[in-house]
Assembly symmetry: C2
Homo-oligomer: 332 residues x 2
Amino acid sequence: MATIKEIADRLGVSVSTVSKGLNGASDISESLRQAVLDTAVEMGYSTKRSRKEEHRKLCLLIENMDYDAPDKFGYDIVLGFRQNAYKNKWDVDIVDATPALQAADKYDTYLLKNGYCGAFMVGFALEDEWMNQLPTTTMPTVLLDNFVERNPNICYVGTDSHEGIELAVLHLLQLGHKKIAFLNGSEGSLVSDQRQEAFESAMKKAGLPLNKNLMAHGYYVADSAKYHVPGFLDEGATAIVCGNDLLAQGAMEVCSEKGLRCPQDISIVGFDDIEIAQTLNPPLTTIRQERNELGRCAYVMLNSLIHHIPISKTLMRPQLIERSSTAKVALK
Amino acid sequence: MATIKEIADRLGVSVSTVSKGLNGASDISESLRQAVLDTAVEMGYSTKRSRKEEHRKLCLLIENMDYDAPDKFGYDIVLGFRQNAYKNKWDVDIVDATPALQAADKYDTYLLKNGYCGAFMVGFALEDEWMNQLPTTTMPTVLLDNFVERNPNICYVGTDSHEGIELAVLHLLQLGHKKIAFLNGSEGSLVSDQRQEAFESAMKKAGLPLNKNLMAHGYYVADSAKYHVPGFLDEGATAIVCGNDLLAQGAMEVCSEKGLRCPQDISIVGFDDIEIAQTLNPPLTTIRQERNELGRCAYVMLNSLIHHIPISKTLMRPQLIERSSTAKVALK
């Protein structure tokens, strides 16, 4: 890890200039300050400075996730993280990590210059600029639903998708369903891949054939259902497992338009248990993610990384919430 | 969750008798106390009582693992767990969970009658009596290197075996090795299975063929090496990845007896980084498990379970420690 002296030597400036640059003093130019920060990051200085106990500031970076109201997926995650961080005397800034922000500064530079000891990143996709910088970051970083290999500064936090989908399939099997369709979310995301694998493995375990016409990837929005659910119904599906509650809501609408009653004619299972799950007609059977706990857990993991405990992955248990959108398969 | 009243009704005794039984009062008979405890456990009472904050006592159950000296695998794990628990004002009892102890009481009964709020279990094997009771336990339990499906009271803590074996194989590939053998530990354990899968996947990723004569399961002791290493050498292995440091020590001895020099003629990689790794001749390149941090992390997870945060799995990052038992492949 580089010292202030080494950064000064590299730049050919004095130690006090580097110190001013790192501490945001006003009496050096912005361009020199930027050079100090960039060099400090390049030389791995960030870790040393930002892990000092006097800088008690964390950052919650949000890219593509709704969190501004209690009925939104991200609300409880953000809340849980802040609750646990505040309890442990950390300040938390919530930052919308727009593409423009990600383009303006490198990830490490952004955290360093704002005095953050670490970050919790939610809603990021693989194509995000800052995601590409994570394999080499020196900043303690917890990622929701994404994994980065071999960097001890990064921890992946999420719900055990495998167990979640397995719970959904087992529930439907117990109700006598065999023609079970799977409407997954966006292709290419880590959790979609895990859920796909889990669905196929649960069907195989039950001795049921995998039918390509009963599996599809949509996006994690209700509207996606209309492109795939009619095909499932044509194929004789009696139950549909959905990648999230919004997809399940969409699936319900499509089935209703086709004159099918849920759950008498078709059983539907969601994933997440966001607020709308309870208010749908019928109320949705779903796989619950404990989102407040997920946020609280993310804080615990970030604090561990800051204290050099190299946790790589933490998964939470999902839970089957039985409501009224699933029932015994109808005899034909 | 059952109340004291419900337990009393079930047994046909008074509430105060149940209360005495649960609290270890001396003025009821041992057989009645046992009946109260068994009924309480059966009715799911344990959770309610033992999670109260006034009972600040945890249990570290050790089955088959050496931990009594700093050079033993379990020493730092036990130390880390105790350090973190004490810091947070918990008492910890270390208990040798002999088969006799496991036969004498059910797992939940044992914890309940000794006033433990939860347990950290290390060294247990799938055939252990208490392991079989875990799918339905109501006691917060953290398991080292073992996973139990769908019980929110259980959390699996371990090192990411996949990444560990991948680090070992990548290191050897960079040194030009292609004929890489894998001497795995005991067949049928969760970590052995994970490491086997990781080895095969890393070889495939590198475009190298999987050769059955270059893969074997031994046990996690040095002596195992002599049954498998000669076969690897006959097959032309230039490097051996071992399931732990003891196997690597054994492999070194076998190679030396065959007149091969390590690392000039054969590269050897261990797993764990226990104390002997540094003192072997040559000092062993190995995949380090952060055992103190593993123990500390187990405490954090147990505390989370006690507070109803249903963490299912936590993995730590392994680290490649390069010493002198690996070198560039010899040109033939």
